[in-house]
Symmetry: C2
Subunit: 303 residues, 2 copies
Amino acid sequence: MKRIFFNEVVTRDGFQIEPEFIPTDAKVALIDELSPCGYAKIEVTSFTSAKAIPALRDAEEVMGRIRRVPGVEYTVLVPNMRGAERALESKPDEFNLVMSTSETHNLANLRMTREKSFESLAEVIRRVEGQVAINVSLSTSFGCPMEGDVPQEEVLRWCARFADLGVRGLTICDTTGMAHPAQVARMVEALNQRFAHLQLTLHFHNTRGMGLANVLAAVQGGIDRFDGSLGGLGGCPYAPGASGNICSEDAVHMLAVMGYDTGVDLARLLAAARRLPSIVGHGVPGQVAKAGLITELHPAPVQ
Amino acid sequence: MKRIFFNEVVTRDGFQIEPEFIPTDAKVALIDELSPCGYAKIEVTSFTSAKAIPALRDAEEVMGRIRRVPGVEYTVLVPNMRGAERALESKPDEFNLVMSTSETHNLANLRMTREKSFESLAEVIRRVEGQVAINVSLSTSFGCPMEGDVPQEEVLRWCARFADLGVRGLTICDTTGMAHPAQVARMVEALNQRFAHLQLTLHFHNTRGMGLANVLAAVQGGIDRFDGSLGGLGGCPYAPGASGNICSEDAVHMLAVMGYDTGVDLARLLAAARRLPSIVGHGVPGQVAKAGLITELHPAPVQ
């Protein structure tokens, strides 16, 4: 049974776009519920400015209050040096640095050129060397909602620049759900050829229904690590009404029933997923929490 | 570019479980809107008794009023000899006969043993020989919500019995969304070995989010024909709140952007999909109708 590693991003990627502030107590309780589920990594929060992302303004408090489970890595999103200094105090296991491979998206999202982002993140990497593991998430790597195609060579060029700085891992992100399985297969082949020595993670969205098909294509290509968001929470401002991140429990369920070892306790995870709508105050896209596992049978009707 | 053929089932598989009766005019108008979209086949309605499925009690009238487009096959579901006699009057291109490969599901759904269903359908096939093409849809072929696993050999046994009767096509149905990609790959390999001379169709549901991953696995195995339902309409009484049939436009979109020739005009299909919620009076699960094609770009924000 091949091992697949899951990273949970709901409290960062999911909660950051929730219109209502999720109380700190609820965030801590959810992470404490997720920690014993068998994830490899949990992206707890983001050390962005409270003004930019008020939904995650309680980053320090959340990091200080969660109960860390041995074997789970707790990672935080770090956008810049200021965030890095704040984040270090919270002693995360990993910094997740982020920039876009599309110039237009980087300008729109981070308000600077990609070159400026790279310089800023390189400075962070040098500053924290030896203190915390570094992962870099490259947004819009399968397409930009404003520019369109992002050439694969362009993505690989940014991968190489960060690999040269000695990062531990790279996350190739389909930020707005534009990836399709044939493209994923090509990307994964190139990544394996050039960056197999790094921890490679794929981050998909289900914006156009292709999320789990892309997971399948990536697994077929040898990728063993995925970001997922409980309930499929998250989203994209360019696709109102559409699904967000791939749903953790749906992805875990698919790979588990296919025979992969995900390390995740699905029953426990589903219990958390079924509590999620009451935390966020609305329905969520995840399917398995509604339909049940394929192994949960129903009584035959009385004839 | 490999050709993939799509069969639209929304007005039969989708509408049959709608709680509100869809007016005959609306059914006819929708089929007339779908006919020029590039489908290989449209399953128009079901000649079941009006008492069993009141939602489709207007089968004769719908068949009589639709404008048939050359190149599109119009098929109808036929449950038994009585339905067959009624259906023949409407001159469909194909009869779609149906039974389950699970004994318990067949008893629950059709109120007879599989053996009795087979005898009844065999009689229909002999009765209409030479007058209309015959397809047989085998329900619960990837699992039964009451029995659980349905052994692949059992499915192949029923395929063989119908193949021996000279049917043109077989549809292998994942009636309640229990199929997973590894299972689909195994099934497709076996089907290709033994029934490559027949028109083979795969029918998936997205009940647990695996619908398009299963389409991908089937296409990788060489399958070139799929049932889909506009908007992802349809469903399963055992999974309230979960998604139904795979969404036609989402499946077409995925295969089109991967480089397959689906024959379908996506812009036209999306126009129909976006009108569907107003026909049924509620939202539908399809994603691409909400998010747009991956090629539809957005303006960059003004800095």
